[in-house]
Symmetry: C2
Amino acid sequence: MPINKPTDSELEILHILWEKGPSTVRTVNDLLNERRKSNAMAARNVAKPKESAGYTTTLKLMQIMFEKGLVSREEDGRTHVYAAAVREEDTQSLLLQQFVDNTFRGSAARLVMQALGSHEASSEELDEIKALIAQLEQQQPKS
Amino acid sequence: MPINKPTDSELEILHILWEKGPSTVRTVNDLLNERRKSNAMAARNVAKPKESAGYTTTLKLMQIMFEKGLVSREEDGRTHVYAAAVREEDTQSLLLQQFVDNTFRGSAARLVMQALGSHEASSEELDEIKALIAQLEQQQPKS
DNA sequence: TCGGTTCTACGAAAAAATTCGTAGAAAAAA
DNA sequence: TTTTTTCTACGAATTTTTTCGTAGAACCGA
């Protein structure tokens, strides 16, 4: 029941499965490497970009994810078609909670301030956020 | 120049140094274990709580952090007094950027929505955030 | 001064996460 | 059919992070 926490590499794969839907290892591996290549180009990237992954590396990772229950799979002839077995929102929520605890010692507000301060956000997005805040203020007019 | 990314354990130590100021290994280790003990109690915690750390474990970690430039130190007689060598805001900003990239594929707004949705925020905090949004809307009335 | 405690340094074990080589079966191409 | 490519399974090497044992020097109280 409790969602398993994916590692960074596993998360990369989940993103692809969420976006593209059920896929083979080959497909995932190709997309992964495309994405890594373009990430390496993008100067904005802070983290050292990963090298491109070998096929068996991705295969092994997805097998591990299968054992952990992060993905499901179905045989299609000789090959396996993998699908995400956890929902994107749930996973993000789990990771976010741990991240807020670890990095901001639990203060979501401080995180939001940092996030809005240092990342781009369109005015539509800001509108959405304002709407959400209005809603929250209705719900819990506390303090 | 580029800040070194602290690991999770290193971040725990930095939090203590940021909060308490320059401290000895002994002090840090004690506070660390206090904190871990109370974290273990708190039911809200999702991540499995860490065991309490042995003294030499913390010592070694802080020595490594010193080599990485995450902390500075000064001799006081026989013992060393360590201080954070990176600023809290800078570190959080770095970690946040990577987290947004990894987990939300770059969309700060999505992160903010998740964060506000699933974490508590007081109305004062919400006010602050609203103020920040207003400010951002002024700056870049784009799109 | 003697014995127990508290330091640092250091090496290395243990645990976690990532990577890859090899082997054998199935499929596709020649 | 023969050869080449493409799969999975599996074990193990590598790398990164975390943990700890041991040794020797400094300190402290009796």
